[in-house]
C-alpha cells in the first residue's frame, strides 16, 4: 500500500438548502482496491458519486485524488484528472453508434485541433485513426465490437450497461466509479459482469468504487465496504465485518432489531 491513498475524502458533505444530503463522509481508497458503497435507498450513495465527480460542489470538507484537490472542479476536469463513472439510470449517447459512444470518451486523450479537422490535415487523420483503433479495443474487451455500427439505443439493456462501462474506461480513469452496474440484470448476467469487472481491474490496473444493491456481487468481489445511511457513513470494513455489523443490520432491517435486543 502506498503512503498517499489514491482517493482521500475528508469530512465531505453537501447541503441543499436546509437539507444535509450527505455529511461528514471520510473515505480512503488505495491504489488497486475494489471498494463497495452500500446503503438503503435514499442513503446518499449517488449523491456521494456526484460529489466525487464534480457534479455537485461539496459545501464542506475536501476531496483529493492522489494528493490533488478536486473541490470545485467541473465534471469534465475531474474526468481528465482520472475519475470516470457510469450512471445508475443509463446515460448513453442514444443516437450515436456504439463505436462513437466510446470515441467520445476517448476525446480528451486525442490531440488534433479543430483547425486540423476542418482543413483535414494529416494530424486529423492520424488522430481519428488512433481513436478508432483504441475504441475498438475497448469494445472487443466487452464483446461489443460486433455491434459497433448499431445506434446505442438499439442495444439490449444488459449490453447498454456494458457499453457504459466500456465508455467510462475509454476516458482513461485511474479510479472508476460504477453506479449500480448490475441493476436489472439476471443472475447469469450479474455473474458475467463480476468476472468482467475483475478482469478490467487487473488489465488496466484500476481502482474501483461501486454502488450496488446486489449483495452477492458486493460481498463477492469487494475487498472493503463503506455503508451509508441517511447521508452518514455508519460502518466500514471487510464484507465479513459488514455482514455482522449491528448498525448495518439496523439500517437495513429497521429499529425493531435493536428494540428486540433491548
Amino acid at each position: 500500500m502506498g503512503s498517499v491513498p489514491l482517493l482521500q475524502v475528508r469530512n465531505t458533505g453537501i447541503q441543499f438548502g436546509g437539507l444535509k444530503a450527505v455529511s461528514n463522509v471520510n473515505m480512503e481508497i488505495n491504489q488497486g482496491e475494489l471498494i463497495g458503497l452500500i446503503g438503503p435507498n435514499g442513503a446518499g450513495k449517488t449523491t456521494c458519486f456526484n460529489l466525487l465527480t464534480g457534479v455537485y460542489v461539496p459545501t464542506e470538507g475536501s476531496i483529493e485524488l492522489d494528493g490533488q484537490k478536486l473541490n470545485g472542479l467541473a465534471p469534465y476536469q475531474v474526468t481528465r484528472k482520472g475519475i470516470s463513472r457510469t450512471f445508475q439510470n443509463i446515460r448513453l449517447f442514444n443516437e450515436l453508434s456504439v463505436l462513437d459512444n466510446v470515441k467520445v470518451a476517448y476525446h480528451s486523450l486525442a490531440k488534433h485541433s479543430i483547425i486540423s479537422s476542418i482543413l483535414r490535415l494529416p494530424s486529423h487523420f492520424s488522430g481519428e485513426k488512433e481513436m478508432e483503433e483504441k475504441s475498438i479495443e475497448f469494445l472487443k474487451i466487452f464483446n461489443l465490437d460486433k455491434y459497433k455500427n448499431e445506434a446505442a439505443k438499439n442495444l439490449p439493456y444488459g449490453q447498454q450497461r456494458r457499453l457504459e462501462i466500456a465508455r467510462a474506461l475509454a476516458a482513461g480513469p485511474r479510479l472508476l466509479l460504477l453506479d449500480e452496474p448490475a441493476a436489472g440484470m439476471n443472475p447469469q448476467e450479474t455473474h458475467e459482469l463480476m468476472e468482467l469487472i475483475a478482469f478490467v481491474r487487473k488489465k488496466f490496473d484500476l481502482t474501483i468504487l461501486l454502488i450496488e444493491h446486489d449483495m452477492n456481487l458486493v460481498m463477492g468481489i469487494c475487498e472493503r465496504i463503506y455503508v451509508l445511511d441517511h447521508g452518514q457513513l455508519i460502518a466500514q470494513g471487510t464484507p465479513e465485518d459488514i455482514r455482522n455489523h449491528p448498525k448495518v443490520i439496523e439500517a437495513y432491517l429497521g429499529e425493531e432489531v435493536t428494540s428486540a435486543h433491548a
Binding site: 469534465y76 474526468t79 450512471f87 446515460r91 449517447f93 450515436l96 476542418i118 467510462a168
Partner: protein
Amino acid sequence: MKKVKGFWVFLILSIVLYGTVQLLINAGILNQFYSNTLIFIGINIILAVSLHLVIGITGQFSIGHAGFLAVGAYISAIFTMKLQLPFPIAILAGGIIAALAGLIVGIPSLRLKGDYLAIATLGFAEIIRIVFLNIDYVGGAAGMQVSHLTNWTYTFICLFITIVVIMNFTNSRHGRACISVRENEIAADAMGINTVYYKVIAFALGSFFAGIAGGLYAHNFYIIQPTNFGFLKSFDILIYVVLGGLGSLSGAVISAILLTLVSTFLQDYPETRMIIYSLVLVIVMLYRPQGLMGTREITDIFGKWKSVKSVKGGN
C-alpha cells in the same frame, strides 16, 4: 480512405454544378429571375446549414439566427459602401464580426437550456436589430443603400466552403463532442467533454457562416433595412432546419432549396402565398414529424441503396 474518395466525388459534383449554372447564365439561358433565385437558394442553404450546426448537431435551441445575419449584412455593407474595400474582404469581415457577436451572445446565454436559451437568443437578436435601427451611420430605419455585388460565383464559393467546413467539423472528434452534448449533456460532461466550450464553438461557427450569408444577402439587394432581420427571418431559418430533420445536414440543404422555391414561385399569388406555404409546413410535419430526412444524411440512403444492390447482385 473511403471518406477521402467521397470528398473528391463531392468536389467534382460541385464544380460540375457550378460550371453548368455559370455557363447557362453566361449563355443567357438562365435569366435574371432564375439566377437570382439560385443565389437566394444558396444564401438560404448557408443559413440553414449554419443553424443546423447549432440546433441539429449541438442541440442548442437558438432562434435568433437573423441577428447574426444582420451583423454580417451591415458590417459587410459598411466595408464596401463606407470604407470602399473589396467585396470578398467585406464578406469575410461580416463573418468574423458576426462570430464575435456570437461569442458575446453565446458565452452568457449558452449556460441556459431549452426554452430559456430560445428566449435569450431571440432577445439578443432583437437587441442587435434595434441597435442597427438606431445607428444613423447605417441609415437607421430608412435602411442603407448597398450596391449589387453578389453573383453566382461568390455565392457558390461561400456555399461550398460552408458545407465543407461544417461537414468536416461534424465528422471529427469535435463534432462528436457537440453531438454528445446534444444527446446527453450530463454524460458528455462526465466523459471529459468541456460542454460549455463546444456549445460556444458551435454557436460562434454557426454565427460566422450566418454573417457570411449576411454579406451575400446585403449585396443581393439594393437596400438593407433592420426590418429584414426581424424574428420572422429567424423563424424562416429555423423552419429549414426543423423541416429538413434535426441533425441532418443534407436535410437542411434540401428543405432550404424546397422552401425557397416554394416561396419564390408563390410570389405570383400574393393573396394565397402564406396560406400555401404554411400548409406545406403543416403537411410535412403531420406526415414526417422527424423532418424530411430524420437524422440521416443523403449519403446514408445512397450507401444503403448500394448495399441493397450488391446483395441482389450476389444472389
